[in-house]
């Protein structure tokens, strides 16, 4: 069955520390891969996406993600987090926008 797993429901990091949010997927073929961010009470915003080519993808707000086919993973990273990065992050995979499979999200908490 197709699925997306974000193993961490919550992650707490100190401001200025590095961040890695995990995303693993199960899918028949290599899907398109996305990371979206949601601030409290708001809609979602696309951070970055992977379709093909270079497996290290750069996104907005200083985020990057690496696609590892052998591990079926698409982890999101940021070298130094800011308090404004506190939000919920969603990984999604699929072959079209109406076939996206969404992870349950990881809530990022920033310690001052």
């Amino acid at each position: 069955a197709q699925s997306v797993t974000q193993p961490d429901i919550h992650i707490t990091v100190s401001e200025g520390a590095s961040l890695e949010l995990r995303c693993n997927y199960s899918y028949g073929a290599t899907p398109y891969l996305f990371w979206y961010v949601q601030s409290p009470g708001q809609g979602l915003q696309l951070l970055l996406k992977y379709f093909s080519g270079d497996t290290l993808v750069q996104g907005i707000k200083g985020f990057e993600a690496e696609f590892k086919r052998s591990q079926s993973s698409f982890n999101l990273r940021k070298p130094s987090v800011h308090w404004s990065d506190a939000a919920e992050y969603f990984c999604a995979v699929g072959e079209s926008n109406y076939q996206l499979i969404w992870g349950a999200g990881t809530k990022l908490i920033i310690k001052p």
Binding site: V4, G43, A92, S96, N97, Y98
Partner: protein, 113 residues
């Protein structure tokens, strides 16, 4: 630039009452439109999507329906709300169904009492 408007932001409705949530997009034509529901601690669930006026695809059998009376207007409705309809509803648009990203509205928090 393109913008998406979704209203109301919050809504409290009694069980058995009707529902109408509206979403409009500006600054683009012939967008793909989507209604999602988001439950706490869970990912997004696609409810409906539309690739054109009057064309609605339903992903999940439920108490809700959707309509697209105009190119950039997408409406989520129910004739009689259930308690289980409570949740956070998000409208989104994309330029196409394949490569372009989803752009979300700010959502409607629906509480059915």
């Amino acid at each position: 630039s393109q913008t998406i408007h979704q209203w109301p932001a919050t809504l409290v409705q009694p069980v058995g009452s009707p529902l109408s949530l509206e979403c409009t997009v500006e600054g683009t034509s012939n967008p793909n439109l989507y209604w999602y529901r988001q439950a706490a601690g869970r990912g997004l669930q696609l409810l409906f999507y539309s690739v054109g006026i009057g064309q609605i695809s339903s992903e999940v059998p439920q108490n809700l329906s959707a309509s697209r009376p105009q190119d950039r207007q997408f409406i989520l409705s129910s004739k009689k709300l259930l308690l289980s309809d409570s949740g956070f509803y998000l409208c989104a648009w994309s330029a196409d169904s394949l490569n372009s990203p989803l752009h979300f509205g700010n959502g409607t928090r629906l509480t059915v009492t």
